[in-house]
Symmetry: C2
Subunit: 328 residues, 2 copies
């Protein structure tokens, strides 16, 4: 390179160069420093599955000190090491929330909801990102709930307690509805987390029970969207296959919580799994299927845009996030 | 789960449930199916390095049949297998382009430019995404070019050939300027690709040579942004360290082309490397440093938002993309 430089000095082009270097600085009008913008991009991502238009929508994420027992069956240090290996802040864990909208051409379908606006400074962003994505909440025809945990259902309500999707039919998995709405089950809730979940299900859904249709596994919850038994996380926890033409995507819901811990280590039990052994078996079955068919997977707790492919990797799996396409 | 369901049937809560199921379908006003939106999200991403506000901005990506000799020193089948393993379309390769804007508080600095609007249906998106990010092209104070390849410099021009950043000083690495502006070097161009590069450099920069300042490695090209020798890809190819307070990010420019091939396999020679052995040595040195300090890296050819951490992995490296934060 030094050689190139020396040679260039004796050429005509280099003479032009030298002259250019010798020019006085260009005078420019003095301008004030540009202030920072201070705002993130709207966090939605559009893609297609066959003829269907899908929009992954971020509700935000929660970064919290990793709770004791977050992973039930490994020491906290080991779980923290996995989080730190994924570049999460030391001692903390980040859990993102990503509902998905499917426009089948016939129906506008929302799968899971996130939280109502204002739930926390870093969550409850779904409605704002939905609007930024050019989708009117009033146009949603069907809200499909994968299961009845708060981060999946609370967004059916506005911040004021109204209906966030006033024209939508709400569909809940029949086994989850039966489980969470059972007073007998509630009376047996073993800890504060479970008590909170039972109370929350009632608070959000009881007075609109008439608007909630129960669905069964194997049924289409909307055209081209089939409910798949993914139980274990909760009794009625459901994944979905979205199919259009020969294209197919899997919506995994909470087959894993954050993939950095639980897809890498499918035998780890997240605190939220009601039947951890069944959840683990579901996980392996689901990912073995997804890896074999090289299926695109949407993961509610994957980092936005929450899409990727899963591959076997040693005793666990790895997630390969999709490459963002800037043109739809 | 069947057990839960059976139990629930005999409880009061389940009676409510059954009643709800028995209700007639809710009547809703008939609405036309919602048309698809058909538009991608604006593709920018905001983050902070110390006090600096950074914006990663997609210019788009090009997906093309993988050219013969794209990887010079491995069989085409092997290179194609690596692309396919990264879920690129069969037989093809996708190359994204991602400039970055740094607002240091004193100066608004653009590092590399992408292409002018309209260059192709999937590139030339920089200006639109810059505007979507709330940044005025006229407010850019400094355009720093990492090297003089078309995807890094052509965007200094508008589609009509004017100046895309009319108030900006343009800074080019002195060794690259000397190399590409040398008529002697141009006369020795060994193939059409190189001939095209020499012609393009002149077309884009010759008549604005007076606006172009040459910089040397080790210098600050803007407050807190230091030019680092990353030669090999081109004689003057430059990476950057962006430092604010104790925070530091590396802008790798083209230390690798697409990471799926060349970061995984640092000894592979991409067709665009002028001195492939030097480029390879630079690559290893750069990533060993980045891995050791767990540095955040911005990569011009990483998938948007083009940020990640690099780790040693066997004989090569792996890229761990950052987790998107929906709140700035």
């Amino acid at each position: 390179m030094t050689e190139f430089t020396r040679r260039a000095v004796v050429t005509g082009a280099a003479a032009v160069t030298a002259a250019a270097i010798a020019q006085p600085p260009i005078s420019r009008p003095a301008r004030a420093a540009t202030p920072p913008v201070g705002k993130q991009a709207p966090s939605f991502y559009r893609h297609k599955v066959g003829d269907y238009e899908l929009t992954q929508i971020s509700d935000g994420a929660r970064t919290i000190p990793m709770p004791e027992g977050f992973v039930r069956n490994v020491p906290r240090e080991q779980a923290l090491a996995a989080a730190e290996a994924a570049y999460m802040p030391k001692g903390q864990v980040t859990i993102p929330f990503n509902p998905v909208v499917v426009n089948t051409g016939l129906k506008l379908v929302l799968i899971d909801t996130g939280f109502p606006p204002g739930t926390s400074p870093t969550t409850g962003l779904f409605q704002a990102n939905l609007a930024a994505a050019g989708i009117d909440a009033k146009a949603i025809d069907i809200v499909v709930l994968s299961h009845l945990h708060p981060d999946h259902i609370n967004g059916v309500r506005t911040a004021e307690g109204g209906l966030a999707f006033p024209n939508a039919e709400i569909k809940a998995p029949a086994p989850d509805w039966a489980f969470w709405m059972s007073d007998e089950n509630m009376s047996k809730a073993a800890n504060d987390m479970m008590k909170g979940y039972f109370a929350n299900t009632r608070k959000v859904l009881s007075d609109i029970a008439g608007k909630v249709t129960r669905y069964e596994w194997g049924q289409e919850v909307a055209p081209g969207i089939t409910a798949l038994d993914a139980s274990g996380h909760t009794p009625g926890h459901t994944a979905f296959a979205v199919a259009s033409g020969s294209a197919r995507m899997l919506v995994q819901s909470d087959v894993t919580n954050i993939p950095e811990l639980f897809l890498r280590n499918p035998d780890w039990h997240v605190a939220f799994d009601i039947d951890p052994n069944k959840a683990m078996a579901t996980r392996r079955k689901f990912y073995d299927m997804a890896a074999a068919e090289k299926a695109l997977i949407a993961g509610f707790h994957f980092a936005f845009p929450s899409l990727g492919h899963v591959e076997k990797d040693g005793a666990g799996y790895r997630l390969v996030p999709i490459a963002w396409k800037a043109v739809f």
